[in-house]
C-alpha cells in the first residue's frame, strides 16, 4: 500500500468532469497539505461540489488523476472512504432516524470499537444528550449541521471534506465551528472546506477560487490578492448607487462593489483609478485608497470569467 510517505492530503491533477455537454469541472489541479485548512470558493454552480465528489470517489472523473491521503481516487475509493469525513452540502442524514440512531449507524459502518461510548461522547460534545432520541428531521438547520459534522468526525478521519458546512448557521455557531477546525488542523487533520463567506475565507491557510469549473487562482489570501494586481479606492458618502453606475462605464474602473455606506472601486492602474474616481465623485464624497480585499478580487475574477465565457458565443 502506498501509505502516506508524502505530506499531501489531497493531490489531484487535471481533473475534468462533464454532465452531458456541459463541462462542470475543467482541468482542476490542487494540492492540500497535511494539517492545512484549504478554502474552496466560487459562485454557485461553479463546480465546487462536483470537485469534492471527484476527490472522494463519489463521481468518476472524465480525465485527470490524483490521490487522496495517498490513495488513488480512481481505484482506491474504498480506502479513501474509510479515512475521510465527508459532509455533504445538502443535509443527508436520515430524517426518520433519531440522532442517536444516525450516529449509531455511522459508527457501525466504520466498525468503531466501543461504539456506544463513542456515540455518547459525541452526543455530549454536541450537547445533544437530551435530544438523542429526537427524530433528526425535526431538528433546526443549525443543529442538523452540527450533527452532520459530528457524524463525519466520529471515526477520527485524517481528512475532512466539508461542502458549505456553515450555510444557514448563525455567526456565533460559525465562529465556534471555525475554532474547532483550527484545533483539528493543529492536530494534523487536513480540511478542504467550501464556503461563500469572506470572513471564513480569511481564516483558511490557503484558498482556491473556482468559476465555471476552472480554477482562477490558488494560494494564500495575500498571494491571491497580489497576483491580480488590483488597486482599490473606497468612497464614503451618500448616493453611492448612482456613482457606482457611472463608474462602471469608466474604462479605468474595472469594477465596483457596494458595502453599505461605502463603495469600493478597483482598477489596474493605481494613479489613474484614484484621479478618475475623485473626478467623477466630485465634492461631498470622500475618496481614499485602501488595501484590495479578497472580496474585491473574487468579484473581479467572477466578472472576468463570465466575460470570457460570453465571448465565444
Amino acid at each position: 500500500m502506498t501509505t502516506c510517505q508524502n505530506t499531501l492530503a489531497i493531490d489531484v491533477q487535471n481533473l475534468g468532469k462533464s454532465f452531458g455537454s456541459k463541462k462542470v469541472v475543467d482541468n482542476v489541479s490542487l494540492t492540500v497539505e497535511r494539517g492545512e485548512i484549504y478554502g474552496f470558493l466560487g459562485p454557485n454552480g461553479s463546480g465546487k461540489t462536483t470537485c469534492i465528489r471527484l476527490m472522494c470517489g463519489l463521481l468518476t472523473p472524465d480525465s485527470g488523476s490524483g490521490t487522496c491521503l495517498g490513495f488513488n481516487i480512481l481505484r482506491e475509493s474504498t480506502h479513501i472512504k474509510r479515512r475521510i469525513g465527508y459532509m455533504t452540502q445538502k443535509f443527508s442524514f436520515w430524517d426518520d432516524l433519531t440522532i442517536r440512531e444516525n450516529l449509531d449507524f455511522v459508527a457501525r459502518l466504520f466498525a468503531i470499537k466501543g461504539r456506544k461510548a463513542a456515540v455518547d461522547q459525541t452526543l455530549e460534545k454536541l450537547r445533544l444528550q437530551d435530544r438523542a432520541n429526537q427524530l433528526t428531521g425535526t431538528l433546526s438547520g443549525g443543529w442538523k449541521q452540527r450533527l452532520a459534522l459530528a457524524a463525519c468526525m466520529l471515526h477520527k478521519p485524517k481528512l475532512l471534506l466539508l461542502d458549505e458546512p456553515t450555510s444557514g448557521v448563525d455567526p456565533t455557531a460559525r465562529r465556534d465551528f471555525w475554532d474547532e477546525l483550527h484545533s483539528l488542523a493543529a492536530r494534523g487533520i487536513s480540511v478542504l472546506v467550501s464556503t461563500h463567506y469572506m470572513d471564513e475565507a480569511e481564516r483558511c491557510h490557503k484558498l482556491a477560487y473556482i468559476a465555471y469549473g476552472k480554477l482562477m487562482a490558488t494560494g494564500t489570501a495575500p498571494e491571491i490578492i497580489a497576483a491580480k494586481g488590483l488597486h482599490t479606492v473606497v468612497v464614503h458618502g451618500e448616493h453611492l448607487q448612482a456613482l457606482s453606475e457611472k463608474l462602471d462605464h469608466t474604462p479605468e474602473v474595472e469594477q465596483t462593489v457596494m458595502f453599505g455606506t461605502s463603495l469600493h472601486a478597483s482598477g489596474l492602474d493605481k494613479d489613474a483609478l484614484l484621479s478618475t474616481v475623485t473626478d467623477i465623485a466630485g465634492t461631498g464624497l470622500y475618496v481614499e485608497p485602501v488595501e484590495t480585499s479578497l472580496e474585491d478580487v473574487f468579484v473581479y475574477m467572477m466578472h472576468r470569467s463570465q466575460n470570457n465565457l460570453r465571448l465565444p458565443q
Binding site: 475509493s77 436520515w94 440512531e101
Partner: protein, 379 residues
C-alpha cells in the same frame, strides 16, 4: 486490500438495523403490507374464464385395435389436446401429479372384446382439476369425441351394441379438486402474485428513496459495499414476505377453505426462494430508477407479463410455445405450481424440485446482475 473489500458483518448489520428502524416509522408502508394481501385475496377471489386448447394429454392404451386407433386419431385431430406420450400407468400418473400433463386417458385391456360382448367397458379420464377453468371445455370435448367414435365404429356387425350410453361408459376423475372449485386455483395463485408485487416494489422503493431524498450520497460516501447495502436492505422484507405468506395461507384455509395436503416444509422452502428472487429483482430494478414513481412503473412493467404468462391469468398449458418459454423464466410461474402442488396435490420434495431450481437459478443470476448494475457513484 482484500481484507478491506470483504463483506463485513458489522456493516451489514448496521444497514439491517437502519432499515428496520425506518420501516417501523413508515406507517403507510406498514398498513400497505397488512392490508394488501387481504384486499387482493378478497378482490380476486373469484374466477377468470378462458377455454384453452392443446392441453397436454397422456394416452394409455391397453390394446391395439381399430377402435383405439380411431380414438387416438380423433383426439389428435381435436385442437383441445396435445397427445404428448403414450405411457404406462405409473409414469402417466406421475406426469399428472407434476403438472406435465393435464389429462390421462386410459383405455383398458380387452376393451374392444368387452365392448362387443356388451359388457359396457369403461374409458377412464383423469383430469388435473386444480385449475377447473383449464379443463372445462376440453373435458366435454373429450367425452364427445369418445362418444362419436363409438357411434361410428359400432356399425354393421356391432350394430346391436350401438348407442354409447349402453355400450360403454366414460368415467371422469377430477383429480385434486373434485368439485372443480375455481377459487382452489385462484386463491393459491394469489399468494405468488401478492408476494411478488409487494416485495419487488418495496425493495425497489427503499433504494430509490435514498436517491430521491439525497441520502444516497451519504451512504455512498460511507465505507459500506454495495453487497452490504443490498443484503442489509432486503432483510426486513424477507420478514415481511414471511408475514404476508402466513396471512395468505391462513386466509386461504379459513376463508376459502382451500385444502393443504402436501409437505409444508417444501412449500416453506419454495416461498423463501420466491421471496428472495423478488427482493433481488427489486434491488436490480432500482439501479435503473431515479425516483419512486419510476420504481413503481418499472415494477408494473415487470409485473404485468408475470401476471399474464405465469399461468395466473391464463392457463399456462393454453399459451403458445414462445409465451411458455418466457413464462418459465419468471419465478412466479414456478411458485404458482409449487403452491398448487403442495396445497392441492399433496406434492413433496420430489415433485417440487423441478419448480425450485429455476427460481434458485433466477436468484443467483439476478443477484449477480444487481451487483453489476449497482451504482457505486453518483454519475
Amino acid at each position: 486490500m482484500s481484507r478491506e473489500s470483504t463483506f463485513s458483518f458489522t456493516r451489514w448489520w448496521g444497514v439491517v438495523v437502519k432499515e428496520f428502524l425506518q420501516l417501523k416509522r413508515d406507517p403507510v408502508t406498514f398498513v400497505m403490507i397488512l392490508i394488501m394481501p387481504v384486499m387482493q385475496l378478497l378482490l380476486f377471489g373469484y374466477a377468470m374464464n378462458t377455454d384453452p386448447k392443446n392441453l397436454p394429454t397422456a394416452l394409455i392404451i391397453g390394446e391395439q385395435s381399430q377402435f383405439t386407433r380411431r380414438i387416438e386419431a380423433s383426439l389428435r385431430n381435436s385442437d383441445y389436446f396435445a397427445i404428448t406420450k403414450t405411457l404406462d400407468e405409473n409414469t402417466a400418473r406421475h406426469a399428472l401429479a407434476k403438472g406435465e400433463v393435464q389429462f390421462v386417458v386410459s383405455i383398458p385391456v380387452d376393451f374392444s372384446r368387452r365392448l362387443v360382448r356388451g359388457e359396457r367397458p369403461a374409458i377412464l379420464i383423469e383430469a388435473d382439476a386444480t385449475d377447473p377453468m383449464t379443463i372445462g371445455g376440453a373435458l366435454s370435448a373429450l367425452q364427445g369425441i369418445v362418444e362419436s367414435v363409438a357411434e361410428k365404429e359400432l356399425t354393421g356387425a356391432l350394430g346391436h351394441v350401438r348407442g354409447t350410453s349402453e355400450a360403454l361408459s366414460i368415467q371422469v376423475h377430477r383429480m385434486y379438486n373434485p368439485e372443480g372449485l375455481t377459487h382452489y386455483n385462484v386463491v393459491p395463485g394469489l399468494m405468488g402474485v401478492i408476494l411478488a408485487l409487494t416485495t419487488v416494489m418495496m425493495t425497489g422503493l427503499s433504494i430509490t428513496k435514498e436517491r430521491e431524498r439525497g441520502t444516497m450520497e451519504n451512504l455512498l460516501a460511507l465505507p459500506v459495499s454495495p453487497m452490504e447495502i443490498m443484503m442489509g436492505k432486503i432483510v426486513p422484507y424477507i420478514f415481511i414476505g414471511h408475514f404476508q405468506a402466513g396471512v395468505i395461507i391462513l386466509l386461504t384455509r379459513l376463508l376459502f377453505r382451500v385444502p393443504f395436503v402436501g409437505n409444508p416444509f417444501a412449500l416453506y422452502v419454495a416461498t423463501v426462494l420466491f421471496i428472495a428472487s423478488n427482493l433481488m429483482l427489486g434491488v436490480t430494478l432500482s439501479s435503473f430508477t431515479k425516483n419512486q414513481l419510476q420504481a413503481m412503473q418499472l415494477t408494473m412493467f415487470y409485473f404485468l407479463p408475470n401476471m399474464m404468462l405465469s399461468g395466473f391469468t391464463f392457463p399456462f398449458a393454453g399459451m403458445p410455445k414462445w409465451a411458455q418459454v418466457i413464462g418459465n423464466i419468471f419465478p412466479l410461474t414456478h411458485f404458482n405450481r409449487s403452491v398448487r402442488g403442495v396445497l392441492l396435490k399433496g406434492n413433496d420434495w420430489g415433485d417440487l424440485w423441478p419448480h425450485l431450481w429455476p427460481v434458485a437459478l433466477f436468484c443467483v443470476v439476478v443477484m449477480a446482475l444487481s451487483v453489476l448494475f449497482f451504482r457505486r457513484t453518483l454519475d
